[in-house]
């Protein structure tokens, strides 16, 4: 079947009487977009010992000497085409090669994957449970047991948007502490992780591109002066939207010292976005000025509506599988950022193709069970579009 695919070039230099010999690149697919950590999967047909050297954009990235012919490479996150070439040479000197070229995506192109990914935190007695295998999990989508087709432990790369409140109330020590916490988060990311930072007040003040080089982000962040009010809803939507175009494990880590006041979007609008997104939302909340329950009225919302917004934010966070991390004092901020990063590292990433893929905007409730017990936290469901 594989050999019928016209894009998988196979070259055999043998005569009709020779045993078959060839190499094919099964993944990534020719013409498909590929970014970041990528597994190159080869198929080799040979009756003798064969070495396959793999090249990405003309550079050798490794040689495989025996099955499985699989190699992990980092293609980076620049929106570029990549040429992947495999050159096979048998012990007797027979050679074959195959080439695929991945394509860049248009900037406004969405990557639509029916694959549902769940980021699952398992804990027991307040401690993360590690070492579980695919067989330990059972996933239910709308009540139906699903086949887990992808499974990874905590080393799966992540993409984060750090969403930092830069309103006037953050001036001085608060903003400095927030930036220090963000720096720590970025510094502790793994080499294949990537992040972008978004600073906001009542308006978007600064947004950086996604990068795996955190050092590039820090200087520009410190040029922003705290000013104005807080439009958390609008910017949480923007953060989730920016993660749409990324692949793999996605997370928004928001830090504010207050709730939304000045957004054009209601939290309900953001919730709908979160329900079709696969990203998790974490909220680090500075509670030095109370329990966070809004008791204020503005020209836009009265106290009950402000409270409703606040409660919806809580619900959104729970539904995405994230959590709220209250911080009592500025000195605890560093710990909060690092704690969230550690928690992300300890998550299991389960992928499945929903058996009831309806594309009708209906809500799919998701449940995950783990053998041997333990508390499981993951997203509560998603809207099926």
């Amino acid at each position: 079947m594989r050999r019928l695919l016209p894009l998988l070039a196979a070259v055999s230099l043998l005569g009709a009487t020779d045993p078959p010999f060839g190499v094919w690149i099964d993944r990534p697919l020719n013409g498909a977009a590929a970014f970041g950590p990528t597994e190159i999967v080869l198929a080799v047909e040979s009756s003798e010992s064969t070495a396959v050297e793999v090249f990405v954009d003309g550079r050798s990235v490794g040689t495989l000497y025996k099955p499985p012919y699989r190699l992990k490479v980092d293609l980076g996150y620049e929106n570029l085409a990549h040429e992947i070439r495999a050159e096979a040479r048998s012990r007797s000197g027979r050679t074959a090669s195959a080439v695929v070229t991945t394509a860049p995506i248009q900037i406004d192109e969405e990557i639509e994957l029916p694959l549902q990914q769940l980021y699952v935190t398992v804990s027991s007695g307040g401690r993360s449970v590690q070492g579980l295998t695919r067989g330990d999990f059972r996933v239910f989508d709308s009540g139906d047991l699903q086949e887990i087709v992808t499974f990874e432990g905590g080393d799966a790369p992540l993409t984060a948007v750090l969403l930092l409140d830069c309103s006037l109330s953050m001036a001085g020590a608060r903003l400095q502490a927030a930036l220090r916490g963000a720096d720590l988060f970025l510094e502790h990311m793994a080499p294949l992780d990537e992040a972008a930072v978004l600073l906001f007040s009542d308006r978007l003040l600064l947004q950086t591109p996604f990068t795996t080089q955190p050092a590039q982000l820090s200087p520009s962040l410190r040029e922003v002066e705290p000013v104005g009010g807080t439009a958390l809803n609008d910017h949480l939507f923007l953060a989730l939207k920016r993660l749409d175009a990324r692949q793999g494990r996605r997370v928004v880590v928001a830090f504010t010292d207050g709730s939304d006041v000045h957004s054009v979007l209601r939290m309900w609008d953001v919730m709908r976005k979160a329900q079709i997104s696969q990203a998790m939302v974490y909220w680090i909340y500075l509670q030095d000025s109370g329990d966070g329950q809004p008791r204020y009225t503005t020209a836009w919302r009265d106290v009950p509506t402000n409270r409703q917004e606040y409660e919806l934010l809580h619900r959104l966070i729970e539904e995405t599988g994230g959590r709220i991390r209250p911080v009592a004092a500025l000195d605890d901020l560093d710990d909060a950022f690092i704690e969230i990063l550690s928690e992300l590292r300890d998550q299991y990433v389960l992928g499945y193709y929903p058996t009831s893929d309806r594309d009708d905007g209906s809500w799919h409730e998701v449940r995950v069970r783990v053998s041997g017990g333990g508390a499981v936290r993951t997203r509560e469901g998603y809207l099926d579009y």
């Binding site: 957004s263 054009v264 020209a299 009265d302 905007g361």
Partner: protein, 369 residues
Amino acid sequence: MMHRRFLLGPLCLGLALTALLAAPAAALDLKPSVVQERYRRVLATLSSGTQSEAMEQLFALETDAVPDTAGSIQLERFWRLKLRVIRDLLQNGKLDQLVPIVVLHHDAFQMYRERKKPLLAAHSRTMATELANILADRADGNPQVRVFSGWVLTSFGSYLQESSAVSGSAALFDRALAVSPGNRSALLGLAAAHEKYGEYELAVPILERAVKADAGDFHARLRLALCLLRSGETEAAVRHLTRLQIEGTTEWIRSLAYQEHAKLLEADGEIAAAETLLREAVEALPEEQEPRIQLAALLDTRGRPKEAVAVLAGLRPAPEGRRSPRFLYDQWPREGVEEGRAKLRAMMQERLDLLAAALRSLPAEGVGP
């Protein structure tokens, strides 16, 4: 259309003097005669045209006389001592000569706030507003003095608004409008106070008054549109919003008119109309972030994520100093207040000679307690 909560009993001179007689004595750090003598000196310095020096003398007098821990009885006694000097001045001249004294205490309020003297700041506010009320009550046939009083009350109303003291500010705006009905800042301030309490029906007639007085007052028209909307007067609200989208001269006002109109359409299920309106907003106001975000959310959550990305591609971080329409709307409408304060000072300058003449006619020694 005055709300009960906002009622402020106008304090007239008669009441003040009644209080003078009834209040028990309380010790100050200075003898009454010294207080009165030094206060007269402050006023003399003021009348000579050196207001900053007068302010420093007032600061010295008041901090010497009133301890930081002073209670209300001490403050009232201090106030009555100064009021005796003022009453004597009134007996020897025109009502207008009070104007510089009111401005002195008006400006002292800000000085005390800056110097972290909350007790004396509150005392200055009380003095200035009560004197303004006295002026207004006795200003029959002197419209300028009523306008002056209206500005003093509006200025303090605005200060209170900035401190989120909504009820107190509304009472002052209410009183300002009673003495000076044409004061636009007081109209906007009072309407904003009603909005803050969710009393949109009460805000509507006040704002209609402002729009009727000046059809080009787009800020008042926007507030009117939103209060109508929240009162369920949708048709009238949409009329104002549509007009603002076309005629509004300020970007943030136009932006909000688009945003709120689109929200209404979306809530009514008129998604295509909301989208058209927001696309018009994005084109007309390319620097405005909110219509883009609103349009992107509308598209994205209705299964059109690629179009949402295209809309957000034009989103640019806000230039320094550019605040969001909702933030600006949520700020207390201070438009014209600084202008009003400048008018107060100008009126003071014009009346310094009157004050000087009145002071010269006072007996050499102050009046006893």
